[in-house]
């Protein structure tokens, strides 16, 4: 028996054409450009000291930010689901603000409190700490929003059952609640990491973009484009593209794993 499919080839044609024009073709052009200088040229561009420094900084700050998010995001999600306090609705709505706020405004926002004219006397402008702060701002929603629904769905009876079997609070959390949250936390962390690796708008203002010190990969690429070094920009871009694909694959595998687990 075959299901009669209600949607014809027209839909497929429209979708594939649009996606090709907007997403696939430009990316193909990018990959094509990176191959023009040959394998050696590509490798040289990729491993130029400035590019390597930018990449190392990007990965280190993104990793740090992902880890902070894993903890802070889970705690915030927990508080939003299991705690009751006045103004919870507002706090819950605000979590999405970093998503809705343009990144360039996010950068200015961090600079306003933690910059040269800081009213609380903390000035981290043009340092690596500033990068971390800006990235923490823009990645805030990811872990919260992936953990929150799981926590809401999680059966209270599960925890009560664990407690009735003599588990302590900590044991209940670490052995019953946490394993259930883990896929959500991981995919949130992965998304936050990917976002952090590619972030541009919020870091470009607050870091001052000092090569070898506060220049992250996306800012490095921007600089190379401005100065006309197309092959350098292309090599670094292809690397970021590969990282993005890798993270998405990882999230896909995670999703696959969880659905199989729950089936």
């Amino acid at each position: 028996m075959r299901r009669v499919s209600p949607f014809g080839g027209l839909t497929l044609g429209v979708v594939v054409t649009y996606l090709s024009l907007i997403v696939a073709l430009p990316l193909a052009a990018l990959v094509w450009q990176s191959t023009k200088s040959g394998a050696t040229g590509f490798w040289q561009s990729l491993t130029s000291p400035e590019a390597v420094a930018a990449l190392k900084l990007t990965l280190a700050t993104s990793l740090a930010v992902a880890l902070v998010n894993a903890v802070a995001g889970t705690v915030i999600a927990w508080v939003l689901v299991r705690d009751e306090f006045r103004g919870k609705g507002v706090v819950n709505a605000l979590i999405d603000l970093p998503f809705a706020l343009p990144t360039i405004v996010a950068g200015l926002t961090m600079l306003a409190l933690y910059g040269p004219r800081s009213p609380i006397g903390i000035d981290v402008a043009y340092t690596r700490a500033a990068i971390v702060l800006a990235l923490l701002f823009v990645t805030l929603p990811f872990v919260v929003r992936t953990v929150q629904p799981v926590l809401q769905e999680l059966d209270h009876e599960l925890e009560e059952a664990a407690e009735s079997l003599g588990a302590s609070n900590w044991q209940t959390f670490s052995r019953v609640v946490f394993p259930n949250l883990l896929p959500g936390i991981l995919s949130g962390v992965a998304l936050a990491f990917a976002k952090a690796v590619g972030e541009f708008g919020s870091v470009v203002i607050i870091t001052g973009n000092i090569p070898f010190k506060t220049e992250v990969s996306s800012v490095y690429i921007f600089g190379q484009i401005e100065s006309g070094n197309t092959s350098g920009a292309a090599a670094a871009s292809v690397l970021l593209l590969a990282i993005s694909f890798g993270v998405l694959l990882l999230i896909g595998a995670l999703r696959h794993w969880t659905t199989r687990h729950h089936a």
Binding site: M1, R2, R3, V4
Partner: protein
């Protein structure tokens, strides 16, 4: 497949003598009632029933009159402006039935329509559907796993087993002249004695040996009010259940552990079994 939602691998579907195999669902004139109602959740009961008529662009007055008529037929007038989420399962299924009837289908297809309902509601709806069918008189295909439902409602029953039709016939034919062991045990309780199949209530228990009788020991007796069921351990091997009235059981004075001889005069032997 009858409604055209799935395509057959082989064979043809004919409706009123016309080949409908390649016809799109919307052109077949088959009224389909789904097991899980498939109610349009964003429309009221009235909107649901009117859907097919609106699609056909019937005049508004005609639609209203027809919907009122159908609401009366399925006894949902008081709920006309409610949404499906505000109805019980039985009410939703009556609405789905009215929706299917609205477009005057050539065939009405009911796919386990009462499957998701509890036993009491099922019984009530079955009676109601029977009366409705007398009023509406449209060829109805009723799919069910409940043989009692099938026996009570149908003029013709087709018994399907592993994708094949085992037998087609009236309820009485199926019961009295089953063609396969599957049909026999499906439409009524049956027991197997060697290569012979017999209705449980046709088993004749005796206290003395007789020619052609099987020796057995009484394992368990369950009194269900009017009737009783007796589990018998056959001397050869295997167990069978026998069925008799409690009065007969008392007459025989059977007890657990007693030895009996089982006669199966009205048994059937199926070829190739």
């Amino acid at each position: 497949m009858i409604a055209g939602l799935e395509r057959p691998d082989a064979g043809r579907v004919t409706i009123s003598g016309e080949d409908a195999t390649g016809l799109a669902p919307r052109k077949r004139g088959v009224g389909f009632v789904f097991q899980h109602y498939a109610a349009f959740k964003h429309m009221t009961v009235r909107g649901n029933i009117a859907f097919g008529l609106k699609i056909r662009k019937r005049p508004r007055a005609e639609v209203r009159a027809r919907v009122d008529e159908l609401l009366a037929l399925v006894q949902l007038q008081p709920f006309a402006d409610r949404y499906p989420s505000q109805l019980s399962g039985g009410q939703r299924q009556r609405m789905a039935l009215a929706r299917a009837l609205a477009v005057e289908p050539k065939v009405l297809l009911l796919d386990e329509p009462f499957g998701a309902l509890d036993t009491r509601v099922r019984g009530e709806l079955r009676e109601w559907l029977h009366r409705l069918h007398d009023e509406v008189r449209v060829t109805t295909v009723f799919v069910t796993h409940d043989q009692e439902e099938a026996m009570a409602l149908a003029d013709q029953i087709a018994v399907l087993h592993e994708g094949r039709i085992e037998q087609v016939g009236s309820p009485r034919e199926l019961y009295d002249q089953p063609k396969t062991p599957f049909v026999m045990s499906f439409v009524g309780a049956a027991a197997q004695l060697g290569d012979r199949w017999v209705r449980q209530h046709d088993l004749d228990l005796r206290l003395e040996p007789a020619a052609g009788a099987f020796e057995a020991r009484v394992e368990r007796i369950a009194r269900l009010g009017f009737e009783a069921r007796i589990e018998l351990q056959l001397a050869d091997s295997g167990t069978v259940w026998a069925q008799m009235t409690c009065a007969e059981l008392d007459r025989l004075e059977l007890e657990r552990g007693a030895t009996v001889w089982v006669m199966a005069d009205r048994a059937r032997v199926f070829a190739g079994d």
